[in-house]
Amino acid sequence: MATDVRAPAAAGKPAGPVRTPRKNPARWFSDHVILMIGILVLVYMFVPIGYIFALSFNQPTGKSANAQFEAFTWNNWSSVCDPEGLCDSLKLSIEVSITATIFATLLGTLMAFALVRHSFRGRGLSNLLIFLPMATPEVVMGSSLLAMFVSVGMDGVLGFLTIVIAHVLFCLSFVVVTVKARLVGMDSRLEQAAMDLYANEWQTFRLVTLPLAMPGIVAAALLSFSLSFDDFIVTNFTAGQSVTFPLYVYGAKLKDFPPQLFVVGSIMFLVSFVFVVAGEIYRRRRVRAWT
């Protein structure tokens, strides 16, 4: 490992082994080839996003709107709710996802606590049962739920309730995984210290355990929301006549494809992106304030 005397002054240097700078271009290439491949893959991932953005400004001329880029217009953005049922489906999606997130996060967090903090029989079986929904193909999950709803005579009332039930089901496992990951890293001696300092079980949970677990719970809730909002296959089976946003997109492909859909897609991307970046900046600012 070559030591670079100038290294302490280079504050912006990426982490990793310290190297003396190579002037040889072939060397630079081989050092950076992996990074370049990685960046290329990322670019590939974003190509459709770029198209979505571009097509959101597209003025359709009667043919299927997603074939060619015809003309530029702001109209789509200003008249987002024009296509019938679009904004209704968005509303339903948001309602469903928030409800499902609340329940999935609640149930899943309880399960994560049980798995990490307590030992009991049947642990392996519990782990397996929680894992299976994640591994089950959505087709199977959707069809089995539909079959059950039909058999108990609920096939007339398929809608909000059945969609939420389905969403909670597949979000549950992801919540457990996420919260569990956070809890496992938590030092249980902190709770012992709290009890040593006169906090009873409830106070310990409220003042120490919960605040420390909260980042994991929040992450689980966000993950749950995204999974729920974007879900198509399971929702398709269990929605009955209700239309969530993904269902709307699927249905719209058969008719004239309104470019407003791409507008919504772009908005979704922007909102989430801003959210995540803001969270990251907030986190970094907190860290910097301490040092």
């Binding site: 030992s119 199977v140 997109v249």
Partner: protein, 302 residues
């Protein structure tokens, strides 16, 4: 550490960590009950029901009702009619998973070791495409890979595609869609695994005269194996059952098992067939999971 005889660690025994014992409370498992109940009612029970449905008399229908006749022949019929769909699904999913691994590994490696302070940002970029509806993204691919689109045009120019060749409505498009949609499922577990590898181990390999390539082969790759395995599972399994990509980017000639199940269920109302197909698919998945669990244990699952 002279401890004497330690108790054998079983699931019921207290775990000894640093000389301290994780608390064993009698009522702790109660926390598990609501969630487990939910899973039992909405997952286990429907799955069992699905199994029963697959054994219905296939001559029944929505109108005339169904009889449970333990008609195991349904399975035989299902496989006989659709074995080619299964094969196709596994091939498509397999190719997609393989390409995901080839592309995802360098990406995960780059983020873990080469990204420096951009690490978190790059991670966000990996999942950022998921911020839009996946249907919309797949539909974008339809535009991108369209006959009049730039990609097809380019490939025709350099003669990879024949002049009247198309990308859309071919297996290539379907697989490309699968790759695109499941890439993060491969990249993130790979990253998690690689991130845990102490970079100094790789440096130590270099110090012990190994070339970068053999250092990778002998040190990095084995250590990242858990990530490779879970990434592969998380990619392959949903890809098998996917039908959106096939439907939007392909023709009925590319349809996968998922398409058949969906059609059987929602269009044809042929419940016994749909159920048996679902369960066969499910069985394959469970077998793969069991093999995985055998090697790694259940604690790593969730």
């Amino acid at each position: 550490m002279s401890h004497g005889v330690l108790p054998s660690a079983g699931p019921e025994d207290p775990v000894v960590v640093d000389g301290e014992v994780a608390r064993r409370r009698g009522w702790g498992w109660l926390l598990l009950v609501p969630g487990m109940l939910y899973l039992a009612v909405f997952f286990v029970f429907p799955t069992i029901q699905l199994f029963l449905t697959s054994l219905y008399d296939p001559s029944g229908s929505y109108v005339t009702g169904y009889n449970l006749t333990w008609h195991f022949a349904n399975y035989v019929d299902a496989i006989r009619d659709t074995w080619n769909l299964f094969v196709r699904s596994f091939i498509y999913a397999g190719i997609a998973t393989f390409v995901c691994l080839m592309l995802g590994y360098p990406l995960a490696y780059a983020i873990a070791f080469k990204a420096g302070r951009w690490k978190n940002f790059m991670l966000v970029l990996v999942i950022a495409p998921f911020f839009t509806s996946f249907l919309l993204r797949t539909l974008s691919w339809r535009t991108i890979l369209a006959d009049e689109g730039p990609v097809a045009h380019f490939l025709r120019t350099i003669q990879i595609l024949p002049d009247n060749g198309r990308l859309l409505a071919t297996p290539v498009a379907v697989i490309a869609g699968l790759i695109y949609n499941f890439m993060p499922f491969m990249t993130l577990p790979l990253f998690a695994s690689l991130d845990k590898v102490d970079y100094r181990l790789i440096e130590a390999a270099g110090d012990l005269y190994s070339s970068p390539l053999s250092g990778f082969r002998r040190v990095t790759m084995p250590l990242s194996l858990p990530g490779v395995v879970s990434g592969t599972l998380l990619c392959f399994i949903p890809a098998c059952g996917d039908y959106i990509n096939a439907e939007l980017l392909g023709t009925p000639k590319q349809y996968m098992v998922g398409n058949r199940i969906q059609a059987a269920f929602l269009t044809e109302h042929n419940y016994p067939l749909a159920a048996s197909l679902s369960l066969i698919l499910m069985a394959v998945v469970v077998v793969m999971v069991i093999i995985y669990v055998r090697r790694v244990g259940t604690e790593e699952l969730v």
